[in-house]
């Protein structure tokens, strides 16, 4: 089904999506309506325009594709499924994600991937094609964040990255370029590390283009919790 969203309120749009029984929904002329695909399950939703705050929040499964930018709180507390943003996203993307995958072609705003967590088969992944703003991966507890810095606009990470990190991994293509907190350790990613990342880079390149082999051959830095991090094993067994 196709929904022409111009002039629709977020309630009207989301009600139309809820009522629709189609597996695939195209939302045209979207401009800032909130909570698209919120708690969505098993469907493929394509958004043309600007996806408003909270797109893909609590998403369970299925796919959300945004052909444009996503605003703040993308994939908030997402549990599963896949999100592709053919543009950039605002602040606080992937906040408290506990599953699913988010691929952002361009830059992410402040506080991406704050307090993501993994458990059992739940494993959240956030891949940012451009650079990420300050406080990336704050209190990270599990899952993977990857910042590819493909556009070379500025340093790949903003200040205060990985503050309070006690689980999971942050991959950065090239050098981190900002001071990291004591609770973390950064080292060059080895073959084993790259094997973990590879499937997600493949999906990124399949969606947005780019040579995955060249990307895999690049130097990556991987940030993990430090061996002596005080919070390590306090909240999660990592």
């Amino acid at each position: 089904m196709e929904i022409y969203a111009k002039g629709m309120s977020c309630e009207q749009l989301n009600e139309a999506v809820r009522r629709c029984t189609d597996k695939r929904i195209d939302i045209r002329a979207c401009n800032g309506q909130r909570f698209i695909a919120c708690a969505g399950a098993g469907r493929s939703i394509n958004v043309y325009g600007v996806a408003g705050n909270g797109a893909g929040a609590y998403m369970e499964s299925g796919e959300l594709r945004v052909y444009g930018n996503a605003q703040d709180a993308l994939a908030d507390t997402m549990g599963g499924g896949e999100i592709y943003v053919f543009g950039g996203c605002g602040d606080a993307a992937g906040y408290a994600m506990r599953g699913g995958e988010v691929y952002v072609r361009d830059n992410a705003g402040y506080r991406a991937g704050v307090h993501m967590k993994a458990y059992d088969k739940q494993f959240p992944v956030l891949v940012v094609g451009g650079r990420a703003g300050c406080f990336l991966g704050e209190y990270l507890a599990g899952g993977i964040i990857a910042v590819l810095d493909l556009h070379n606009e500025a340093a790949p990470l903003g200040e205060e990255a990985a503050r309070g990190m006690h689980g999971g991994r942050i991959y950065v293509r090239g050098e981190v370029g900002v001071p990291l907190p004591e609770c973390t350790a950064a080292r060059r990613a080895e073959a084993e590390d790259m094997r973990l990342l590879e499937p997600y880079l493949r999906k990124f390149c399949a969606a947005f283009g780019g040579d995955v082999n060249a990307l895999l051959a690049d130097k990556f830095t991987v940030i993990t919790p430090a061996e002596n991090a005080r919070a390590k094993r306090l909240y999660v067994s990592n």
Partner: protein, 363 residues
Amino acid sequence: MEERFAEGNVRIPAGCAISGFIHRDGRLSDGGAIITSIATMRERSNGLGGGFAGYGIYPEYKDHYALHLFYADKVVKRECESFLEERFDIINLSKIPVRKTPGVVDAPLIWRYFVRALPTRLAESQLDEDEYVSRCTFDINTHMKGAYVFSCGKNMGAFKAVGYPEDVGEFYRLDEYKAYSWIAHGRYPTNTPGWWGGAHPFCLLDMAVVHNGEISSYDANRRNMEMFGYKCNLQTDTEVITYIFDYLVRKRGLTLKEACAVIAAPFWHKIERMPEEERARAEYLRRNFSGLLITGPFSVILGYKGGLLAINDRLKLRSMVVGEYKNTTYIASEECAIRAVAPVLDRLYAPEGGEAVIAEVMR
């Protein structure tokens, strides 16, 4: 104030929307676009306040201060007008034209006066005219119960009310004003009940501020400003931001960028990493004006003669994006508010926390 609005009787959750744009080529546009823009973020407001400011709207009186006033009744209006007549040469006065709008009710009396200071009174006061107008404004707002000056700049004006911003724009017939820059606010009050005077923008002389956030340093900032004669009458945090900018820029002669380095001062650990000269400057500003550091979340648009300034708190706890298309710069809480009036942009970016964005009319 009505009992139902008394503190503790009403819980008001957080929000707020801001938007603004400036034609850097000095071109004028009516209030239609700014209403469309702010209306896009309706979810960020709750109908308890909306407001606008336009610059360049009174070219025929551009050398006069345009005083916009709310009056509770005719008695205080008479009192205030005699106060004004004693101090100002009033060359024009009228009701501000409004349109009946279902979304805006319980309007006070709303009047506008174009004035210059009476030369004898001005000479007697030994003040410059800006300071004279500013003191008269504080005098009315502090001592004259039921009268409130909500705008007092030259060739600019604020328009605000209780209601959703799009209704407020309709109410004030903003389609009939033409400005080179507009700012707007949709209010979702958190600390004080919404009333007409408490809506944004907050203005003093040519400056007008719209703000989304909640300043945790409000009392420290307020006490500091009171030492310099600024009376915060409304207990709302935005008011003090306006006065801080007025104090730092008009009275202390700081540039806007320097004022921003005071209110959103870099963290000490960042200052330590700066090159020598930059560090000395940052340290000077932080130490000398420590009482004017604003903490807590904020995104602010400041309108002033010939320009707009946008700034976030240094941790960027509120969203703000900037768009550029040809000679127009747009600023808004959300991208959709920009796209609603400028679907195609040359550039769209989110400024860093504490990064001042300044857009001015080209000379």
